[in-house]
Symmetry: C2
Subunit: 317 residues, 2 copies
Amino acid sequence: VIGWSARGGGLRRESRPSPRAGGGEALLRTRLSGICGTDLEILRGYLAFGGILGHEFVAEVVDCPERPELEGRRAVGEINAGCGTCSHCRGGDPRHCPGRSVLGILGRDGCHAESFLLPAVNLIPLPDGLDDESAVFAEPVAAALEVLEQLPGLAGEEVLVLGDGRLGRVLARVLRQAGVAVSLLGREREGDPRPAGAGVELLTDPEATRERFRVAVEATGRPEGFVAALDALRPRGTLVLKSTYEGGAPLPMARVVVDEIRVLGSRCGRMEPAVEALAEGRIAVRDLIDAVHPLEEAPAAFERAARPGTFKVLLRP
Amino acid sequence: VIGWSARGGGLRRESRPSPRAGGGEALLRTRLSGICGTDLEILRGYLAFGGILGHEFVAEVVDCPERPELEGRRAVGEINAGCGTCSHCRGGDPRHCPGRSVLGILGRDGCHAESFLLPAVNLIPLPDGLDDESAVFAEPVAAALEVLEQLPGLAGEEVLVLGDGRLGRVLARVLRQAGVAVSLLGREREGDPRPAGAGVELLTDPEATRERFRVAVEATGRPEGFVAALDALRPRGTLVLKSTYEGGAPLPMARVVVDEIRVLGSRCGRMEPAVEALAEGRIAVRDLIDAVHPLEEAPAAFERAARPGTFKVLLRP
């Protein structure tokens, strides 16, 4: 099977023997995969991951001995594969298992490929009414929903989302549908008619955010976003950190102490509620797709995804 | 009056007209002042503060038109002087007032001087049974108690305090008396018989802390302490940040995101409970005093306070 890795530096075409189901692993045939900011960071050297890239997908279950009822069905999946025996895994949450592998990120080939493996327990079958182009957003939507799980009671609160890229837009829409009063701090985008999302206030001047918010969600992917979030927060505010900066970044942590800011690291969320929210149409995402490229044209797709102002680029085998 | 500032770089002797009470300000005659890590950081350029240094004190109230009953009494004081009209001040907490001045730190001369001013509302009179040498620790004890206010329900929990200097030792003792199972990560101190504190486990090997704790309190004053705290925490753990690093520090914030760590900035605490805890003998601190220098010998005192292994150096006018 054909897939794309970051082995040795740039994007690299790999040709491998087809993986085989068994030992808890299901064989999946990729229908659609999404290029994420993390993929681009790995290409820049983050995490030194040399396997096949990709962790956002919709796939057909081809071979699944443990859950044969899924065979032939479309599915998305939890991307963290736990050891199954530690306290996190026993508690039903492999996302923090210390021995975990992560699809296309850590110790496990990803989904920018014709087919790939994932533990059968990780699969979530899709309802028939949910189209591939929406379902492929399940992972970022789950990551956005995680903020609501970490901060219950956000409804009615004014929240600033920093960064109007891929993740920032999804975050703004997910928070908005939960009743949060969302402002999105982004750039002027001339000629781009795509709205921030129904009911989301789009701000382009950081000065307009100064000390206005009790909660800010940092999704710019740049250390400058951390500083802008501190500027926007009131003392004792909460900074939800979604961006993983490549390497160490110099940050004004003294301000975190002096203003007694709470910084909450926030990563993956649970997939089931994300699939539900997409299936029920509570979160619309299809307008965020800029392009769908054939898997064979991954270099052009990655180049497009890395261009400023691009939201989501998909690959189809 | 004589006092010591960091104006122009190093420690500098200042001679000023005596300040006068009025407009809400009380005149205080210093009995004892403590040299804090923040004083040393200001000397290194942090905050660019050019006034008289010092914010830990025991003083005699000399002139206090607003609270004449305090005149002649010994007092300590809340070091943040608020505007009195913002929402923080109206809520009884000037510590986060955006227009605040802070004794010896921000826009207000401090207590490493023969006398100084502080708003009358900030003063807390001392009970007769509490000696000066204990009471001068009220500010760092309050800063340590703030952790318990931010994280109620810590009793019974295992907590790692990083840094066995001035603040780390006080933190360990304050948390211990609240029923927390405290481990203190510090250096080997040959020939220093002072214990970490009754019931506090003293660790010197960071390896022994790895992923062992749900809560870690960073009080080393060095960015390396932040990394060591991350190493010691389990996923979804809480890192209480007490250290204010000079300037920006490169920190591995990606780990905060991936492990969904909560970072809690923690600064000043309320003084009243600190005075109470010291007066009731719940927290013993006098053994942390390394030296008491005359105010005139401040340079020698600061030099001593900056020496590794020193806990607390006091100045007496």
